[in-house]
Every structure is written in C-alpha cells, then in structure tokens.
Amino acid sequence: MSETIKKFLYLNRKAPYGTIYAWESLEVVLIGAAFDQDVSLAFMDDGVYQLTKGQDTTGVGMKNFSPTYAALGDYEVKKIFVEKESLDERGLTLDDLQHLVWEDEDDDWAEKDSIRLVSREEMTAIMDDADVVFSF
C-alpha cells in the first residue's frame, strides 16, 4: 500500500449517540488499520462518553457499537489517550470506562492497558506531535 508511516491521531470529541460522528469515526479507524500507520486515538470533551462501560441503547433504538472499542487491540491500536479534565468535568473516572487492552507479542502476548490518562496540556503536545489529525 504505502511505504510512508505517519503518526495518525483520531480525535474524538462528541458523545456516542446524539450524532453519527463517533460511529463513523470508528469505521475510519477500523479501515485505516489496514494501512499500517502509527495510530493513536484521543478522547476529549463529550468524546469520553464513547468509552463508558455498560452502554444500553435500547431506549434510543440505535445499535450499541461500544463493544467494538474492545476489539481495537486486535487492530493494532495500542495508544488510546483520554483527557483527564474532560473526565473530571463530567464526574467520570477511569473506572467508568471500558478496560481496553492490547496483546504484546514481544512479551508472551501479555495483555497491556491501551488507555492512557493525560492532562489537557499533554493532549496539546500529542496533537502537535501527530502528522495527521482526523477530527471527529
């Protein structure tokens, strides 16, 4: 496909169900995995709700796509940055989010945490460091 490897950052800022952005962003991540780039995901603002566990969409009649996040490790997505201030502002902690892991083949397939809690300041540095920012 391509020899170039770029740092891709998928920036997720919106709640999972009020609009389709979250789901269609995830579709880009899944397709994009085939291109073997250096991929990171970031969740901030209402985007942190995308990762909450125990989602039940029965009432709104929409597909609950949240189990898909647990498969990201199989797509070689190992870096998921969650902004601490966004969690704080919404009364959430890491315990409210799904426990997302990836398997390290260099370490006997040990499961390692994908989610990294970062400050707003660190998030700006992560964005600055990216070659491509897909903003959803």
């Binding site: 496909m1 770029k6 952005y21 397709i31 291109f35």
Partner: protein
C-alpha cells in the same frame, strides 16, 4: 503544498461545505495541489445532482463540480456513508437493487481507504466540520 480535504457536513445546513469549497479553490488558485476531496458523514449529500436550490442562492453541488472540472479534482464520496444516506451511483444501484441514481457525475463513490490514502499522500489533511 499537497492538500487532502475532508468535508463532514451536508450542503446548505452547514457552512463546512462552503468553507471547504473556498479553501480548495483558493489553494488551487495559489498553485497548490489538492490530492483529493473526500466527502464523509452528511458531507456525502454534497454530491447529489438532484439538488435544486432557489435561483438567488449559490448552487453548492454545481460549484464543486465546476471546480473539479476546471482542475481535474478527484472528489470521492464514502460508500458506507453514502449507502446510509441514499447517495447512489450506477454500481451501487445495481448492487443494492435500487431503482435510481442521484450522484453527480463529477463525484465518485469509493471506500474509506481513499481518505486514509489521501492523508498519507498529502502534506496536510484539512477537515471541515463541527
């Protein structure tokens, strides 16, 4: 510089499509290259050849098509987003058993890989949307 443009919002409802158009036009006129314009989310609606705006308003679809004609611009509509929203070309009509097409011939329907490829190949990906 080589640009990839992503348009995430539909025409008339939202300014994103207008802004993306003006940015793309200005970049081309300054001699930059636009590798691809990719229409995603409700942005796929920018490709409907059936759009009929009032006469005293801008024609967003025709405007994109003219720019593409003039600069041989590659304008791609995401297939998954298009299927959800009823944006249909000849191939999609046959594949999905539909009785009509509505895509403007200057646009083409293809996969999300085209967006990822454009991001890899270009110096900058510029996203227009909320």
């Amino acid at each position: 510089m080589k640009f990839a443009i992503q348009v995430n919002e539909g025409p008339y409802q939202h300014q994103s499509s207008d802004s993306a158009y003006f940015f793309t036009k200005a970049a081309l006129e300054k001699g930059h290259e636009v590798f691809r314009v990719f229409f995603y989310h409700d942005g796929v609606n920018n490709a409907s050849r059936l759009t009929t705006p009032p006469q005293d308003d801008r024609n967003v679809v025709a405007r994109w098509a003219e720019l593409a004609e003039e600069h041989d611009l590659d304008m791609v509509v995401c297939v998954a987003a298009a299927q959800r929203r009823g944006m249909v070309d000849e191939g999609e009509m046959q594949r999905n058993g539909k009785d009509a097409t509505n895509i403007h011939p200057r646009f083409r329907i293809s996969g999300l890989g085209q967006l990822v490829e454009a991001a890899i190949q270009s110096d900058r990906l510029v996203v227009f949307g909320d």
